[in-house]
Symmetry: C2
């Protein structure tokens, strides 16, 4: 490879994503210069994806890029913030031009969809690792923290659960399904649709929110811990896709929904005085969400069936160490 770092950056990363007047200076100086809107505070999140850990080796570059940005967008959605800018730390084994073209095309498409821009970063040589730091803004008082849930709040989740784990299992050849269902799981794994628009709606009435990256049980557990409350999770109510029912059956499907992770849906809590507004959004189709339980006094998450009896669950969340 003759191309050096500077020409690579210029070629593939200097006009990536949506341009806007809030970016005073983008890629190419010692720092990017960014102007957050007056009256809003900065929301910042970082997620790292490694080849062979978070996605199979030799996956398509375009999909890797889209997923790397999507998982960060999901954190931004869970805060009720508007994504604006991101930095890319890209470590790669060599500077393959075809790979870089695919990667930057995927990144650009996802960034434009969510109206944010790549403003800087660093490229280094080593095992394929993509670390994105996404910055957005939110009025301080409207940010959706994990710590706001109160006993009596209803618990909701957007979309359907377990598809991300099914997608990974299908990619790894561990799940057999119809061509259509495989394509559905594949999309769900590679291009999770960050619930940014829904996050903005939730600011009006939700008391707490988190995105489901580690699995519903673990992530709802983060809400109960931060809020110093307990939760009853009605497992019969968990939204499972038809594809998941068909391909995995209800038992494995439920296990993936609870502990599989990689779903990038939002789990949020709503106090009594917000339930009507939440239901109105669901009825009008602006919010796709299902009530799945209740915040209670106490601590931890207890899974119950439709009769309120405890249900045993096997494991919780992905552990890196």
């Amino acid at each position: 490879m003759a191309a050096d770092e500077f020409s690579l950056i210029k070629r593939y990363f200097s006009n990536c994503g949506a341009a806007g007047s809030a970016t005073l200076l983008g890629v190419g100086d010692d720092c990017a210069l960014l102007a957050p809107p007056v009256g809003e505070v900065l929301a910042v999140t970082t997620d790292t994806l490694l080849a062979g850990v978070h996605f199979p080796d030799n996956s398509p570059a375009r999909l890797i890029a889209q997923r790397a940005l999507a998982v960060n967008l999901s954190d931004m959605a869970a805060m009720g913030a508007t994504p604006r800018w991101f930095q890319l730390a890209l470590t790669m084994p060599d500077a393959d031009q075809d790979w870089l073209a695919g990667f930057s095309a995927g990144l650009d498409a996802m960034a434009r969809q969510f109206n944010c821009a790549l403003v800087g970063g660093d490229t280094t040589r080593g095992p394929l690792t993509i670390s994105i730091t996404l910055m957005g803004t939110v009025p301080a008082a409207q940010a959706l923290k994990r710590s706001g849930a109160k006993p009596g709040d209803r618990i909701y989740v957007t979309g359907s659960l377990g598809d991300g784990a099914a997608g990974l299992a299908a990619l790894e050849g561990k799940l057999s399904a119809s061509v259509e269902d495989c394509a559905y799981f594949n999309d769900r794994f590679w291009q999770p649709q960050a619930r940014v628009a829904q996050g903005l709606e939730l600011r009006e009435f939700a008391s707490a929110a988190i995105d489901i990256s580690d699995g519903l049980l673990a992530d709802l557990g983060h809400i109960t811990e931060a809020s110093e409350v307990g939760a009853l999770l009605e497992v019969d109510k968990l939204p499972l896709s038809q594809a998941l029912h068909r391909a995995a059956g209800s038992k494995l499907g439920l296990s993936w929904a609870l502990t599989g992770g990689d779903d990038y849906e939002l789990c949020f809590t709503v106090p009594a005085n917000g339930l009507a507004q939440c239901q109105r959004l669901i009825d009008t189709g602006l919010l796709s969400a299902t009530p799945i339980g209740q915040i209670i006094d106490g601590q931890g998450v207890r899974c119950v069936d439709e009769d309120g009896q405890s249900v045993a669950v096997e494991c919780s969340g992905y552990k890196h160490f």
Copy 2:
């Protein structure tokens, strides 16, 4: 290792660096929430260090952490911005508690020295990689871009050059020097002193600035390219430390000063109407800087001797690809 990611984060990274009222929400939610001062814009930079590439394998964790933050602080200094917050993407082969204790202690010390705070990040398992995204603030009109140099401006550099390359050579056993000189080079490599305070002073009169990470020739070349000007670099005037003269001699010392990289000093340009103020800062000891050349019409950097004759130089800057 029994410790999972969440307990690791809590134990080693939840109170790292200087706390301040501008951090509304730090480590532990979907996003950090940060309040930049009114009237300033955000300055953001990202640098990644890999074991075996940017520092020798099995280096002390405390030093790795300090260097990882220092190289980002240097970019912030070159923008004339005040560092405030950072995100840490840490990939490591295992969760060794001793290593993590050393790493977080080093990070905490450097962060407190520069009054900034760790506010979030991601930890993953893989080859040791540290990627930091540092955020600071600066009044928009005072930011020190690379693009502001004009013909006639004097070129300055802070501190001394070539010590970073000497430090790496010494670490790799490729340079023999006295115990005292080795200790000096070692400090210069592992704990480069980001010129943040000097960067803030430069905002008053400098027309352009960059930090020297790739080598003076390459980095001054970024200024000439961004500013669409040329530069005459008076190589006899380059500030080399006594230790470098002793250990490497003038020829190798000059080569390292020009192309070695890893110095993390500032190279900046000063128009005629700022020279007196610059000299006053140098005289009072608030700024340690040496005039090393002149911006001219044209393009590229030309090295000249004291008689103005061109001097040949061998290579320029570190190339990752």
